[in-house]
Amino acid sequence: MKLRMPEMPSATLLAALDGYNLLPAIVFLPTRRRCDQAASEAALARRDPNDSRREARRDFMRGFVEQNPEVRGHRHWDTIIRGGVASHHAGHIPAWKLVIEKLMSAGLLDAIFATATVAAGVDFPARTVVLTGADARTANGWRPLSASELQQMTGRAGRRGRDNVGFVVAAPGPHQDPLLIAQLLKAPPDALVSQFRATYTTLLNLLDAYGSFASVREIAERSFAYRDFAHQLVQLERSRAESENKINEALKETGCEIPMSVVLGLERLVGIRARLQEAKPQTRAEVFHRWLNEVVKPGRIVGVGRASRRLVIVTEKRDGSIRGFREDGTTASFPQERIGRVYSPVYRLREEDIEKAFEEIRKRGKELALVEPRLRDAYAEETDALRIIDDSIDNLLPPEIKQRRRCTEIIWQLHTTAEDYERATRRIEALREEVWVPFERRAKVLSIFGYLEYEAEKVTDRGRWLADLHVDRPLLIGEALESGLFNSLEPKQLAGIIAALTADEDRDYGELELDDDVVTSLARFEDIGFKVSAEEWKHGLDPAPELNFSAAGAAVRWAGGADWSQVVSETRAEEGDLFRMFSRTGEALLQIAGLRRSHPQAAQMAATVAEMVLREPIR
């Protein structure tokens, strides 16, 4: 039930609340920009009539500045002093947020305009919490608030010891929905849901500590997530035992002395038979289509078009669509069905190789073309397989069994129960693997790069220092360290690289120009990243986020000794974003600086760079 009402001007809103004695208030707004606007608009329109409070604010902030010089001359300074209102969101630096929190708890502010991030973590209550909408903004539009989000917000309403009652007010806004708010207020709190997952750091540390995959697995299976699985496992095992009982009793009753394995064997054979039957190609087109799926791959040359005369070298294949280069070097993209011929050699996708490749196909195309299968051949294969299965089904009963006909009947009758049994078994196996498989995949990737020995279940010397490197993407940093990349850098370039890695992928930190040297080292770093993610991708791990080049530009500038205000104005990024990014960069550098024994040179440099990054106001 949306009430589509335009948002009130912030001064009007505050005047209305004041009329009901509902101040001080925290007004939640969807974006940082709206918070800043609302605060300055309100400050312009209102003048706190109470001069003593204004003086008190001024004194308070002057006192604060002595400890925190970075808030001196902040662009919202007057808004606070004059209007007694402030905006509070992640775009501000921590010291500025702190002064606002302190002013609020000292009772010197009438309103704070805040994004929902305030609701989590910091604790500064007000008499009233104002919601201008029932939706939250996400990267892809709007979604309704959740019960716990609303509870976080209303948790700020009513100051203990200072208010008899707290209020939540649904104010006009384009996304307002009083019914939803009423429902969410009554909703029970969300359950805690485990987010347990495998990381390189956890795997290396636990394997090094316990010395076997089995022990690491045992730890992973103590997770809260696995507790849920464990309950499901108990139920599945129970229902599997029931099926087993049913089968055994039925066999006993009829006097057929066949083991249970025969019944299960039949289920499997019947299952395979059904799948084969389904999979049997029915037409020539289908046979051809499947063959193309198999043989068309990057590096191969294919003939396209009616006479398959136009040649294209395939560079990419995705969901049945093909991309590649024509002989004249132009790119081509077309559906796989248009391919009429495929040539057997697989060429490297380099410019000089591609030219030779086309030449070879032009010359020896006839002998190099792959032969497409005929329907009859494909059919024959499947038919043979079906015959073998049918024979196996007939021979399932051990030869010594008497009453063969009756027993055969029985095992066919038990087929559905056997199916239940097998389904439960498969599900049990899958569940048992669920928590462990992601660790196993990471173990394989780490072993490819030499950080652990997979067969011996041992962390190598390399792995031991990697285990100590507590950063977001340890493997990438580890590989960069091993490649010696960091040793060839200037200090501020190292800051740039680490910033590119630790920054949020999509955040914009301005378009500062990068030196050629920095670009070259970022490119080398990216190459290493590509090698790492290629292996990760092969092993079914999620792709890592991309490097943020704009963060690198800002960090090089900052580590190079630029002023805070200079970096802020040149990047035009929000102070809070820059602060967080530099602070995380500094932390990652300190981690590298800890590798004094394994990588003394890089560690030494990282320590120096960390100091250059972690200077005022980044602490």
């Binding site: 039930m1 589509r4 702190l98 008899n164 347990f196 730890i219 285990a467």
Partner: protein, 276 residues
Amino acid sequence: MRRNSRKHWDKRKSRGGRSDKSDRKTNHHVANERLTRVVPHSHEVKRLLEGIGTPPSRPFKPDPFQVEALAALEYEDVLVTAPTGSGKTWIAREEIRRLLENGRRAWYTSPLKALTNSKYQEFIDEFGPQRVGILTGDRKENSDAPLIVGTTEIYRNQLFDSLRGGSEVTADLVVLDEAHYLADEDRGHVWEEAIILTPPRIRLLLLSATVGNAHEFALWLEEVRGVRCGVITGPVKRPVPLRAAVLLPDKRLLPLLNDAGKLNPQILNLAADERL
């Protein structure tokens, strides 16, 4: 129909714009009026706003749930779930005080650097700078102090180190503040690892927002650690009661709910008008 409602909305928008200007002109006036003129309230608004204001100051007296939690900590792990601002930190502080007085040690973890820094200051004020240290990704001070404040990640890393032959975590009590961060998509796994790897000899105190499955969570803690874990649920009622209202564009205030706790029918009517 759709077009109609669109028109309606546009009209409202322009009306809102006008009221903006007039407000700005008179705003000065409005603000000054606050003390002299009381907006005439309808009966139901009077009821909505009844009791608004500041309570007389009272000496602090701990809530029963706080006392109960302290008592339980004597012999078991404790999970406290309570809404924000109802006094969970008091429990941690008093237990830490008791330990420090007996020459014992504690680790206090929090999810955010800002929270860690402010807790550090708070504990310094409370226990003196010699007795408190801080460990975050970029700050390390007085790390041998009997009370360490730090991020959960750093605490987890110390557990890893001690498992791999480094120095033991010497705390007698570990407080996990904001323990519901366990459900955080990115970092939640760190909380689970910290819980699983904390030696059973160390007492755990988990402070969490209200969650739907506190007992299940506590059962898991018991299974994993082999130590009993009590669940202390904070006051079901909020420390300061909450009332809900809707503010309309004409500055009228309406209660959001009626006495039965259902949506106020007047608001339903308004929504129906909107659709016309």
